[in-house]
């Protein structure tokens, strides 16, 4: 290396030092917050399925706060976690139970999101709280869905009301609620057939089920839970919109969070519809349903960082 190059390199070093924030001068190691760094942050954010909007917002905040400084990745993620935590902050969301008489919980969602398994878990949860449960197998459309829920009811040891294949789901819901009232059960959980939120007729069917239920218990359904597949991407937002419009969802059950999917789509959902996450499904056993807690969820979102 020639003398000139040496001088040039020396100057470059100085230039870097000069453009470094005084607070970071004495840090042993760290990263300069430049476009490459912000790009990496953006990639990590997008990979949680939170969507381009929130990811851009958070990246820009990091840019404003740290631009040109040398920081540790962990500094940046402390800020990110705080921000996401704020976005998801919600008061504790225990299930709302009716003051008197049975509590009716309706469970809705797209095909294959995990409704039936979530209902089995929910029933187990209620049973563990020494509440009596009646299940209503109102998914009369999908082949053998009734059988699937029946198997679960036997395993858990709860009552179930079923109907013939392709019979009117509202009539099954009606009979389930009637049985719950008659036997003075604590909880009545109604399963519904999976449907895409764009299928207008099927969405109207949900309204009909609600009308029928309300005819017996005016305050019912007390909870309408949307089961969301944690692997879902931005279509989750559309699901939340469609099901909230048609069935007035009160909360989300985030199913299948035990895989590699992060379920970050609940962030834009929370932003746009104020729909809280109530439970999280974390496994295949009936006990694998936990009450949603923001902090561990956010930690898991960025676990690999």
């Amino acid at each position: 290396m020639g003398l000139f190059d040496r001088i040039k390199r020396g100057l470059e070093k100085t230039a870097t030092v000069l453009s470094t924030d005084i607070r970071d001068l004495f840090k042993a190691e760290g990263r300069l917050v430049d476009d490459a760094f912000l790009g990496e942050i953006f990639a990590i954010l997008v990979k949680t399925d939170m969507g381009g909007g929130p990811a851009t917002e958070i990246r820009d905040q990091i840019r404003t706060e740290f631009r040109g400084r040398v920081i540790q990745m962990s500094d940046a993620f402390a800020v990110i976690k705080r921000k996401v935590g704020e976005l998801l902050a919600q008061p504790p969301q225990p299930l709302r139970f009716a003051e008197t008489g049975p509590t009716v919980i309706m469970v809705v969602g797209v095909n294959g999101s995990g409704k039936t398994t979530s209902i089995a878990k929910l029933a187990t949860l209620c049973k563990n709280q020494r509440k009596s449960v009646v299940l209503g197998a109102a998914d009369t459309f999908r082949a053998a869905a009734v059988e699937q829920l029946t198997v679960w009811s036997q395993r858990i040891g709860v009552d179930i009301v079923t109907g013939a294949a392709n019979s009117d789901p509202a009539s099954v819901a009606h009979r389930a609620v009637a049985k719950a009232v008659e036997e003075n059960a604590d909880v009545c959980i109604i399963d519904t057939a999976g449907r895409l939120q764009t299928q207008v007729n099927l969405m109207r069917e949900l309204e009909k089920i609600q009308r029928v239920v309300r005819a017996q218990i005016p305050t019912a359904p007390h909870e309408v839970l949307l089961v969301l597949d944690a692997t879902a991407g931005q279509n989750g937002v559309s699901q939340a919109r469609g099901f909230s419009d048609a069935a007035g969802c009160t909360g989300i059950v985030l199913a299948k969070l035990d895989g590699t999917a992060k379920g970050g789509v609940v962030i834009p959902i929370r932003q746009q519809f104020d729909l809280p996450v109530v439970f999280v499904g974390v496994g295949e056993q009936p006990d694998d349903l936990v009450v949603f807690d923001v902090e561990p969820f956010v930690d898991a979102l960025f676990a690999e960082v």
């Binding site: 797209v110 294959g112 999101s113 059988e147 692997t231 879902a232 989750g236 299948k256």
Partner: protein
């Protein structure tokens, strides 16, 4: 399908359109919007990066400045690149010899069992004799579900409720296939999580010991960024031969397909577009890419139309369209043909730029509407059907009473007809390429903005000019133009 992505991209290209020249700067904006759009469509971050890099590189190398319509230039590049990633396709089952074994695998709830049924239906259509095998021993009642499907299809289903070993079930089933008179065996395996090593091992045991001829990965069309991870895991555990993407009848953007293709590199075979067993279509990358880009898929439109209308009928229809004598009666005929569940919306969705219209149809409940529309046409006199212009307020109220609808709905139908008729006429009697062109023209004219009025189709004036007359007319036009320009220039200089 794909409207959401469509809408995003349409917006992106609108910002490019009308700017005249495609400069490096405004291309960067356009590309950034495409990138954002792809991310919103759930294409994996890494795949988006690679894609944008490839598109950027190609666009930079070309003389986009000289292109007549730079935005179209970029559309072309983006489209070609999408097609390249998604293709090539091969919707064949590659049935060979005695008994062909197909194996379906995928995450829980991705739609494996339903896809098994749909595949069987497709095979039945091509005169094969499929048999379903219940190798999902995990999910309660999965065996029952497959039996119900088998009954609906009238095909044998093999299951063994005694054993807990899916490998044994599959081996026994393949051995039994010949006795059952089946020549294709479809294995419905248990859904699993990508990170569940034990279950993945079980799957690769089936793969090794049973040796299926084809192994398809079933992917939920609504999958997000995780598609990369799960596809990776299945790709490592198994020798995949193809991909089936399900639940594309909703508003899912389906960007996960790009990710899965990128990771596995195997052809995408079919897409699921509805709850009925018939709703499984061969995958076409051009269609997908063009749908994504808002160009629609005329070829798909033609293809579907050919399936519905028989050849003779089609020729008659074509002739009437060309003559411009396409009447409400014909409109009704077409509507009735399309009134099988879900088809109407699918057809309109295939039309380029009609994303907005399918939204409208969603609200309007397309399939139920067809019956009402047919009722309205039935309440008209033959004269009215031929010449809807005849229908004044009193006729309208009579028709509305007859069909049992509001008067506004009669008005809407006539409007709808007035919009559709010129489109059909302008596309009639042309090859696929000319049809594309016709639709492009329509797009430019702003016609495809739903709610806008339809352009009038040019009709012959009955006068044909000789080449000489034409040349003369052109000369005059040019002269007038020059004069106009000169006077404009003069005014500018003066002011």
């Amino acid at each position: 399908m794909f409207e959401s992505l469509n809408d995003g991209l349409t917006a992106a290209f609108k910002t490019l359109r009308g700017k005249g020249k495609l400069t490096e700067a405004n291309m960067r904006d356009g590309l950034a919007l495409v990138e954002r759009s792809l991310l919103e469509a759930d294409v994996s971050y890494q795949v988006v990066q690679d894609f944008m890099a490839a598109v950027g590189e190609k666009a930079m190398g070309q003389k986009v400045m000289l292109a007549l319509d730079p935005s179209e230039h970029l559309v072309g590049i983006v489209r070609d690149e999408l097609v390249e990633i998604l293709g090539p396709v091969d919707p064949s089952f590659d049935l060979r010899g005695d008994v062909t074994t197909l194996m379906l695998c995928g995450l829980q709830g991705s739609g494996k069992t339903t896809s098994c049924g749909k595949l069987a239906r497709l095979l039945l259509n091509s005169k094969a004799r499929p048999m379903l095998v219940a190798a999902d021993l995990q999910r309660p009642a999965a065996i029952d579900q497959l039996h119900v499907l088998g009954e609906q299809l009238g095909i044998p289903v093999y299951s063994d409720r005694e054993t807990k070993d899916p490998v044994k079930v599959c081996q026994d089933a393949v051995r039994r296939a010949r006795d059952e008179g089946a020549d294709v065996v479809i294995l419905d395996t248990a859904g699993r999580l990508a990170i569940d090593q034990e279950l993945m091992d079980e799957l690769s045991r089936i793969d090794k010991r049973v040796g299926p001829d084809q192994c398809f990965l079933v992917v939920d069309g609504m999958t997000g960024q995780d598609a990369v991870n799960s596809a990776q895991a299945f790709n490592e555990a198994l020798e995949l031969d193809g991909v089936i993407m399900t639940k594309l009848d909703g508003d899912a953007r389906g960007g996960a397909l790009l990710s899965v293709k990128h990771v596995t590199g195997v052809p995408i075979k079919f897409i699921g577009t509805g709850e009925q067993l018939e709703a499984l279509e061969p995958f076409r990358p051009e269609g997908m890419a063009e749908r994504i880009l808002g160009l629609g898929d005329i070829l798909g439109l033609v293809h579907t139309a050919q399936q519905i209308v028989d050849e003779k009928e089609q020729q008659e229809l074509q002739q009437r369209m060309e003559e411009g004598s396409f009447s409400l009666e014909d409109f009704k005929g077409v509507l009735t043909k399309f009134s099988q569940p879900g088809l109407m919306k699918k057809m309109v969705g295939l039309m380029p730029g009609m994303g907005g219209l399918t939204d409208m149809m969603d609200q309007a409940d397309a399939d139920g509407d067809v019956k009402r529309l047919v009722g309205i046409v039935d309440s008209m006199t033959p004269d009215e059907r031929r010449r809807p212009k005849l229908i004044d307020a009193s006729r309208r109220s009579r028709i509305a009473r007859g069909a049992g609808v509001e008067m506004g709905q009669v008005t809407d139908l006539i409007k709808q007809f007035n919009t559709m008729a010129p489109i059909m006429q302008s596309m009639a009697g042309k090859g696929p390429l000319a049809r594309m062109q016709a639709v492009k023209e329509l797009q430019h004219s702003g016609m495809l903005d739903p709610g806008a009025q339809a352009p009038r189709v040019k009709k012959g004036t009955g006068k044909r000019m000789s080449p000489r007359q034409r040349a003369q007319a052109k000369k005059q036009r040019d002269k007038a133009l020059r004069r106009q320009r000169r006077s404009l220039r003069g005014r500018n200089a003066g002011g």
